[in-house]
């Protein structure tokens, strides 16, 4: 694998760098004074990008790397990666969930304690020799305070578990209430902020959660309230936060992240009711090593054609033959399951967000589930032949809701019997109502009797349409759904 070009977006970890260097042809993006020059010379050899919370893979970079197959992020957050672009180009994405959950939760509690009990301020006090002049002031107790968590994912839950040991009542906000959860749910961030003393941001950064902490939320938290941010800087309207802290409208803040790292608003440096950390949520020796091992593991898995360890698009990849009305409707539904979508059709369709494959072989090689949903024509007869079935492979699944004659049925049957194809879901057959007997015994196929549109509602709608078309014709009115004539 030493010839495989891997681009590291910025310096992130010496151990990771070293290991990537050993295994791949590593390019350190920051070492090139002219990025455009670098891309011109090397873009053809780069098949993977390793990014983190500072630099990932934006649309521009993705477009500049035509051979890019995978982006492995040295982080759990994905806000620096253009995910829709990756989906569109069929680029795989991995991150580092779970291994850093505890560290980030530990840091959240550490930040709460440091902020409320003014530990950093105390440490400065002692180091400057001020203790000799007098006692330090009283601070604020943590145990028993109400804690509100925005985002009750892995990190949010780990924080809640720790805060509970300090006798803190826990409440939360998330996109929807979680069933089976003993913590109190609030349907809006403002309501959560009004009902807790310590508000913690622990959700992913998306368009919806940008500036989720705004003036209204800060005011609701109030002069005795504390904000703890271990999410992303853009979660918070930073200028609003700064003025609230200076004016005393907010009691204090513990911040590990900022809107424009490494820039930190200087007004914060003089405040004694804030703690400022340089994005160290997962910065421990143990965890960074585990994260690095995951990045390497994912890259190796990808290039050795093994399953990814921690893929972001966790749904199976779906390939659609024919992106017409039915194909698009299938794509929309599969997308909602988190499946990366690719398609083949006679020509590329603009702005679908899905990856276009100019050949059906290409499509079959790059997806796990192949769905036939094109029209049956002379060109598309037996479009699913031995080559395509082999490309789909022993872990692949064929779904046919088109026409039986789209598929070379004897080839399909022998592939299934020999285990060269993983399985099939078939609504249509070459010679309906005949179904090859061998299929009846197989456990990895599902057989339907051409029931694609067989619902009460749809049959009625179809019947109404047929009748209406007939009436229109005989009453010399325009046809409702003409295929030929009257166009």
């Amino acid at each position: 694998m030493e010839s495989i070009g891997v681009l590291m977006a910025c310096p992130m970890n010496p151990y990771l760098e070293q290991e990537l260097d050993k295994r791949f042809n590593l390019f350190r993006f920051w070492e090139y004074p002219s990025k455009p020059e670098f891309l011109k010379s090397h873009s053809q050899s780069i098949r993977a990008v390793v990014g983190n919370t500072f630099a990932g893979a934006d649309a521009e970079l993705i477009e500049a790397l035509p051979k890019l197959e995978i982006v492995a992020s040295f982080s759990v957050g994905l806000d620096k990666i253009d995910l829709p672009k990756c989906k569109e180009k069929g680029i795989r994405v991995t991150n580092t969930p779970d291994v850093l959950t505890e560290d980030v939760a530990d840091l959240a509690i550490g930040l709460i304690l440091a902020t409320l009990r003014r530990i950093c301020e105390c440490d400065r006090y002692v180091r400057k020799g001020l203790w000799k002049k007098g006692d330090f002031q009283l601070t604020t107790k943590f145990s028993g305070k109400t804690v509100g968590i925005i985002g009750l994912g892995r990190i949010g839950m780990a924080i809640a578990k720790r805060a509970e040991a300090f006798r803190c009542p826990i409440s939360y906000y998330s996109r929807s209430e979680k069933s089976d959860c003993k913590y109190k749910y609030y349907p809006s961030v403002v309501e959560l902020a009004s009902n807790c003393q310590i508000l913690i941001v622990a959700c992913p950064l998306t368009e919806e959660t940008h500036h989720i902490i705004n003036r209204e939320v800060i005011n609701a938290l109030g002069p005795k309230g504390f904000l703890i941010n271990i999410g992303r800087g853009p979660h918070v309207d930073e200028p609003e936060l700064v003025s609230a802290l200076i004016e005393g409208r907010l009691g204090g803040a513990g911040l590990d992240v900022f809107e424009n790292e490494p820039h930190v608003p200087e007004e914060l440096f003089k405040l004694d009711n804030v703690v400022l950390l340089p994005h160290v949520g997962s910065a421990t020796i143990e965890t960074r090593q585990a994260m690095a091992d995951l990045v390497i593991g994912n890259l190796e898995a990808h290039f050795l054609k093994k399953p990814l360890l921690t893929p972001v698009f966790s749904g199976k990849s779906v390939g659609i033959v024919g992106l017409g009305r039915i194909g698009s409707a299938i794509a929309k539904r599969a997308d909602a399951f988190g499946c990366p979508i690719s398609y083949h059709s006679r020509s590329e369709k603009p702005n679908t967000g899905y990856k276009f494959c100019p050949s059906i072989l290409d499509l079959a090689s790059n997806c796990q589930i192949l769905v036939v949903s094109c029209a049956l024509t002379a060109e598309t007869e037996k479009i699913i032949d031995r080559k395509v079935i082999d490309a789909l492979g022993p872990n692949g699944i064929l779904i046919n809701i088109g026409r039986g004659r789209h598929v070379d049925e004897p080839e399909l049957v022998s592939a299934l019997l020999e285990g060269r194809l993983g399985g099939a879901g078939l609504d249509v057959f070459e010679n309906e109502p005949e179904v090859p007997e061998q299929l009846l015994e197989l456990k990895n196929v599902v057989l339907q009797s051409h029931v694609g549109s067989d619902t009460v509602e749809t049959c009625k709608d179809m019947a109404d349409l047929v009748l209406a078309n007939l009436e229109a014709h005989f009453l010399k009115r325009p046809l409702l759904t003409p295929v030929l004539g009257d166009i």
């Binding site: 310096p11 840091l107 304690l113 020799g129 006692d135 604020t140 930190v264 003089k270």
Partner: protein
């Protein structure tokens, strides 16, 4: 708050009024204060030099606010607030001429002053202070048997009529300073530190009848020689600390003196502090905060990483109330807890080690939560620290003398242990320079229980113990109860 003092409105304080000092902290939060009494300049010179832009003055009821003395030196003055009801000390016509508003204390004192008036009347007529309760004939027109104040006088609490019980203090505990007015409502305090006399003379002259004493952990040691032999009537010592190593308990038992402490009210705050220091040392929070404030965000990929907290093996030295709260908290971080105590505690699910060296050898971090006694002095010595090892961390929220401090500094400097989080030191408030210059330690000025909440709880507990004693009820948090 630091740094935005310039934006707070400025006030000049004259006197100062007695309400100012106890609430100085609250005043400072809202105003930038000019304090002429702290300057070596005579007041009128101070005012001319510094008072050019002063718009508001806070004065006591005694300080004369005259044209020559004050007003002429404050050209921008718009408001005088006096803490008294009376206004005779202020040249009102002059203020009216200059367009200066004046505000006073209005009626907020009326009840207290009226109470005092009635109290004085009753005291004199019923010889209350004289203590013999006999009646005083006022004149022929009043029945001789007893003189009772007329029904129209203010109805008073019996407590306010008789003098409040006396409590001795050698030095003021921080909680006393914080709640001085509230304490003074309930008790009459004998303040040894305010006297010019040496302690033994003060006690001999003034404290012979004193039955109760309020002390604190950082105060003078209460020994037979220095203190107790001068207090023949002493029956109770209340200390505002959980620790009582500063009190000679044996001597107290011999003399029949009860002792009460702060019980377990601090346990949560102290445990929170231990966890705070533990996380800070491992994750380098204070060091990182220093970096960021120095406008020195570490862009280099060689910035030192912290050490993971979750899952570490914790050795708690002393599993009392505080140690137990620490254990509960770190348990939730997936840490494995063991402990050393005078006796094993079968009811807890943690591993017991009978000696602290063994505990150290099996732990990644030691958290010291035990009492300081003759046996435990310097219990954390070189042997223990070497057993803990070069990746080991010590957290101390108990007493500085539990650790051989000189040895610890050596171990830290030689990398024989990795770091320390310390709230207490052998010779507070002196913290050795070597510690103050290290990057792998976190130092706090004995603030483990310094929260608003704990102080309020402590105030109530101290009052509760004292009141229990004076009404012959059982102490709330006895250490020794005779």
């Amino acid at each position: 708050m630091m740094g935005h003092q310039e934006q707070l409105p400025q006030i000049l304080v004259l006197g100062p009024p007695s309400v100012f000092k106890p609430y100085e902290h609250q005043f400072t939060k809202k105003f930038q204060i000019l304090k002429p009494w702290e300057s070596s300049l005579p007041t009128h010179l101070f005012l001319s030099t510094h008072g050019g832009s002063v718009e508001a003055v806070l004065t006591s009821g005694i300080f004369p606010v005259t044209a020559n003395g004050v007003l002429n030196h404050l050209p921008a003055l718009r408001l005088i607030v006096t803490t008294s009801a009376g206004l005779n000390h202020i040249d009102l016509p002059e203020c009216r001429r200059r367009g200066i508003s004046v505000a006073n204390a209005a009626e907020i004192f009326s009840e207290d002053v009226a109470d005092l008036g009635v109290g004085l009347l009753t005291d004199v007529m019923r010889r209350v202070s004289a203590g013999d309760g006999s009646n005083l004939k006022i004149d022929g027109s009043i029945p001789p048997k007893s003189s009772t104040p007329s029904k129209s006088s203010t109805k008073m609490d019996r407590e306010k009529l008789s003098s409040p019980p006396q409590v001795l203090m050698l030095r003021p505990p921080p909680v006393f300073l914080r709640f001085q007015p509230q304490f003074s409502e309930k008790f009459q305090f004998l303040r040894a530190w305010e006297s010019d006399l040496p302690l033994d003379a003060f006690l001999s002259n003034h404290a012979q009848h004193v039955q109760a004493m309020l002390t604190h952990g950082g105060g003078l040691p209460i020994t037979a020689d220095q203190v107790l032999r001068h207090l023949p009537s002493l029956r109770l010592i209340v200390t505002t600390s959980a620790g009582f190593n500063h009190i000679d308990l044996l001597e107290c038992r011999r003399r029949g003196i009860s002792v009460a402490n702060a019980g377990t009210i601090f346990s949560e705050d102290a445990a929170d502090m231990a966890v705070a220091l533990f996380i800070d040392v491992h994750r380098r929070l204070s060091a990182a905060d220093r970096c960021v404030r120095g406008a020195n965000w570490p862009i280099t990929r060689y910035y030192p990483l912290g050490s993971k907290v979750s899952g570490k093996r914790i050795g708690i030295v002393g599993l009392g109330s505080i140690g137990y709260e620490v254990a509960k908290r770190l348990d939730a971080f997936g840490c494995r807890i063991s402990y050393n105590s005078r006796q094993e505690k079968p009811s807890v699910p943690y591993q017991f080690y009978s000696n602290v060296c063994e505990l150290a050898a099996n732990s990644d971090a030691l958290i010291i939560c035990c009492a300081l006694t003759d046996e435990t002095r310097h219990m954390i010595n070189r042997k223990v620290m070497l057993a803990l090892g070069k990746d080991g961390v010590i957290v101390n929220i108990a007493r500085g003398a539990l650790i051989d401090e000189k040895e610890m500094i050596k171990c830290l400097m030689n990398g024989e242990i990795a770091g320390a989080g310390l709230d207490v030191f052998e010779y507070e408030p002196n913290v050795p320079k070597e510690l103050r210059e290290m990057d792998n330690v976190v130092l706090t000025p004995h603030v483990a229980v310094f929260t608003d909440e704990s102080f309020w709880d402590l105030f109530q507990l101290m009052v509760g113990n004292l009141e229990a004693f004076f009404s012959k009820k059982p102490l709330l948090t006895p250490v020794l109860d005779d």
